[in-house]
């Protein structure tokens, strides 16, 4: 067993004692439910019949080797895969009891409700203010005082306010990489989504910036349901409550993070998290 990960789990549990009772808490409420959900790229299969329940207001990490379908699954949750030609989904995927791949679903409303943060920070080539205000603006908010308030709240939420409040109207691309990623999170928060999807949000950042993002995730879990894809197992152990392990498009194991990392049921999981995986 990987010592460092074990210590991470122990340390986290000492900080967040309530997690111990998580498994038998009756307050837990499923927000995302996948039932035999599959995604195909043409003939190739990306996600293979995944059944998985994601609980509201918790952080769920998806881990797995490259090409295991974890990003595909994440992007399927707000239908970003629609942009890829020849990509189609099969099976059922519910958000708040609503099947999001049924015909009458408005993708715009869905995406508004399910925000996303990408691997590489992608602020628009606009000012900091315009970046954060982008979402509210396209949803029809024109009132400047209201916008100001929303931008400020989002930036405070992501602990970016103090760093950028004097340069709100300068280009966002002039910020540092870590700041840009937090700006993207602020931008996603500005439309007030229920769920926040994060696709390896810290993989291109230095350790310091990564730590800030992780702190931010811990902070946001109070109000948002967060699904995070990560390559960094320690990160998964640090930030998540639940962990799903994907391999070759299939869900191998899903459970409480401390169980997955300290006492996995499947041999494959253990092999992967201990680094014996080939």
């Amino acid at each position: 067993m990987n010592i460092s990960i074990k210590s991470v789990i122990e340390k986290k549990e000492s900080l967040q004692p309530y997690l111990r009772n998580l498994s038998n808490s009756s307050l837990n409420q499923t927000i995302i439910r996948a039932k035999k959900f599959s995604v195909f790229y043409g003939d190739a299969i990306g996600v293979n019949k995944v059944t998985l329940d994601i609980t509201k207001n918790l952080v769920t990490a998806i881990i797995g080797p490259s090409g295991c379908g974890k990003s595909t699954f994440l992007r399927a949750i707000n239908r970003m895969n629609d942009l890829i030609p020849n990509c189609r989904a099969d099976g059922l995927l519910y958000i708040d009891g609503q099947s999001i791949y049924s015909r009458d679903v408005d993708v715009v409303t869905l995406r508004r409700n399910v925000g996303m943060v990408f691997q590489k920070s992608n602020p628009f080539p606009k000012s900091v203010f315009d970046n954060v205000a982008y979402g509210p603006r396209i949803h029809g908010i024109k009132n400047l005082t209201q916008l100001n308030k929303m931008v400020e709240r989002s930036l405070i939420r992501t602990a970016l306010w103090d760093e950028v409040k004097d340069r709100l109207h300068e280009s966002a691309l002039a910020l540092s990489g870590g700041q840009q990623q937090r700006l993207c999170i602020a931008r996603a928060l500005a439309v007030n989504p229920e769920i926040l999807l994060m696709d390896e949000p810290a993989s291109t950042l230095d350790p310091r910036s990564t730590a800030r993002i992780e702190d931010l995730i811990a902070e946001l879990r109070k109000d948002y349901t967060i699904v995070i894809v990560t390559h960094n197992m320690q990160q998964a152990a640090r930030v998540s409550d639940y962990t799903a392990f994907f391999y070759e498009g299939k869900l191998i194991e899903f459970g409480l993070t401390k169980d997955i990392f300290t006492n996995p049921n499947e041999q494959q999981t253990e092999d992967y998290i201990t680094g014996r995986f080939g």
Partner: protein
């Protein structure tokens, strides 16, 4: 060894780079240098008194008192020339004498009729006066001095002379005295030759100095004035001083042009002196002064660009350029968005792309003919050539460039912008309009800059659809139905089809320089705009 070779190659590449940079810069200087220096001549030159007179007459600019003072001064300086020539003319051009005698004879006949004399007496007097005046005409037309003297003696010693006292016929005798004095000064045997050269000389002088004092007012404005530019005056002075003759002494039979001094022809006559006078005192005759004629840009041309500026052409170029952009930017960008963001890759789209590529390679004259055939003759956007039709034709010409550049720019926008916009709940159109287009704007602007330069400079498409060689500056609404001069077309026109190509070199070069400067200016504005957008987008230029 290998390292040595590599180093040598590296160095030679650096050398090649430096050389090509040097080559490009020198090519630019060689091309633009002469255009610039000659073009400047339209704006800064030495203007003569004729120039100031013209500007005052035609454009109402200048200090009236100062100009009339200068004219008076110049007239004083010219007086010697005009007087000498009119004196010389008296012995050479005999028409006035003949006319005058005929007039006197006629007067006398009327006088006789009023006297109520007896018929035989009257007939006698008339016969006599008739023979006298015919004798005088004969003398005037003769070039033999002896003969003239004989005739004059005959007239003066006529027995009837007394009876003509205090009648109109008396004037004939006075004429005889005057003419005999002139005859003594002139070499009559060369009269025919002098006559021919004198007419030529007067024409040359008219070109240099303007009409002679007693000339009737010429019809064309260009003949109202002498040379307005000092540089042209010197050329025209040469034409006065020398005559072009061909020397056929070479046995090959090909004539060699020689400059033969006109003064030689008039040697021994008073006219001889005006040549050296002109040569020495042309400055006091024409009073050259350096002028900065910036109004060349905003003055209307006069007498097909002989005088005045090029404002209608400049305005026409602006109208056509911006018209072309107006008609090409919206469809161009929309097409580019469709092709990059919405179209599915299939054979129709591939065909469209190929068509756009082909359109970019079509010769511009074909666009001109198409514009005439389609916009004017088929859908009748205007009854004849108009700025509107020309703008539309130019728009089609630059459309492929704009589509291509916009397509490239949109494609170059990172995919992540679109993803980000969509993940925030933007619709596809919203994402294109608010995230992709703003990011692509600098690239699109580059395409627009290129198109703008092209539209401003193209000649062929507007020949059939918009351009005329002479026209007034148009008002904005007149562009819907009126043709206009435009720099590109007028440069061609003035260099090839103008009746006095040599006289308006400065206008041609001035137009070329103006066109280059306008394109440069438009480019600089667009580049500054692009830099500012870039700065706003990514925080640096």
């Amino acid at each position: 060894m290998q390292l040595q070779t590599r180093k040598l190659l590296d160095k030679s590449f650096t050398g090649l780079n430096l050389f090509s940079a040097f080559f490009l810069i020198s090519a630019l200087i060689i091309i633009l240098g002469p255009i610039f220096f000659k073009g400047i001549g339209a704006f800064v030159f030495k203007g003569t008194i004729e120039y100031r007179r013209m500007i005052f007459d035609q454009f109402g600019r200048g200090n009236k008192e100062k100009i009339s003072k200068e004219i008076a001064y110049s007239q004083k300086a010219r007086k010697f020339i005009y007087d000498t020539i009119s004196d010389f003319e008296k012995g050479i051009i005999v028409e006035p004498y003949i006319k005058e005698t005929k007039k006197i004879y006629k007067e006398y006949k009327e006088y006789l009729a009023s006297l109520k004399l007896t018929v035989p007496h009257q007939t006698e007097l008339r016969r006599k006066s008739r023979s006298l005046h015919l004798l005088f005409i004969k003398a005037v037309e003769s070039t033999d001095k002896g003969e003239i003297e004989d005739i004059f003696n005959k007239i003066l010693s006529d027995p009837y002379r007394k009876s003509f006292d205090s009648t109109p016929m008396q004037k004939v005798f006075r004429l005889v005295t005057r003419y005999s004095e002139i005859v003594n000064q002139v070499d009559l045997s060369n009269r025919e030759v002098y006559l021919e050269y004198l007419i030529d000389l007067k024409d040359r002088l008219r070109i240099l100095l303007g009409p002679f004092p007693k000339d009737p007012k010429p019809i064309l404005p260009r003949n109202h004035y002498g040379q307005t530019r000092w540089d042209r005056s010197l050329v025209k002075l040469d034409d006065v001083l020398f005559i072009e003759k061909y020397d056929y002494s070479d046995s090959s039979g090909i004539g060699r042009m020689v400059q033969y001094p006109r003064a030689e022809i008039f040697k021994g006559t008073p006219v001889e002196h005006i040549f050296s006078y002109l040569e020495d005192d042309l400055e006091s005759i024409l009073l050259p002064k350096t002028v900065f004629y910036w109004r060349f840009l905003i003055d209307v041309p006069l007498d097909s660009n002989i005088f005045g500026g090029i404002w209608p052409a400049i305005l026409g170029t602006f109208y056509l350029t911006f018209g072309a952009l107006l008609f090409s930017i919206p469809p161009g960008i929309i097409a580019a968005i469709y092709l990059t963001e919405f179209a599915k890759e299939n054979w129709v789209i591939r065909l469209i792309r190929t068509c756009i590529g082909t359109l970019a390679g079509v010769p511009s004259i074909v666009f001109g003919l198409f514009g005439l055939a389609f916009f004017i003759n088929t859908i009748h956007v205007s009854t004849s050539k108009s700025v509107l039709a020309g703008s539309m034709t130019l728009a089609i010409l630059v459309l492929p460039t704009i589509i291509r550049a916009s397509e490239e720019a949109i494609r170059a926008v990172p995919h992540t912008y679109k993803e980000a916009a969509l993940s925030l709940g933007a619709s596809r159109w919203r994402a294109v309009l608010t995230a992709i287009l703003p990011a692509a704007l600098p690239g699109i602007l580059t395409g627009i800059i290129i198109s703008m330069g092209r539209a401003a400079g193209e000649t062929a498409p507007i020949i059939f659809t918009a351009a005329v060689s002479v026209g007034k500056p148009l008002k904005l609404w007149e562009t819907l139905s009126q043709p206009t001069p435009a720099l590109s077309w007028n440069i061609y026109n003035l260099c090839t089809e103008h009746e006095a190509v040599d006289e308006i070199r400065h206008v041609q070069y001035g137009m070329v320089l103006t066109l280059i400067l306008i394109v440069l200016l438009l480019n600089i504005i667009a580049i500054i705009l692009r830099a500012r957008i870039n700065k706003r987008l990514i925080g640096r230029t």
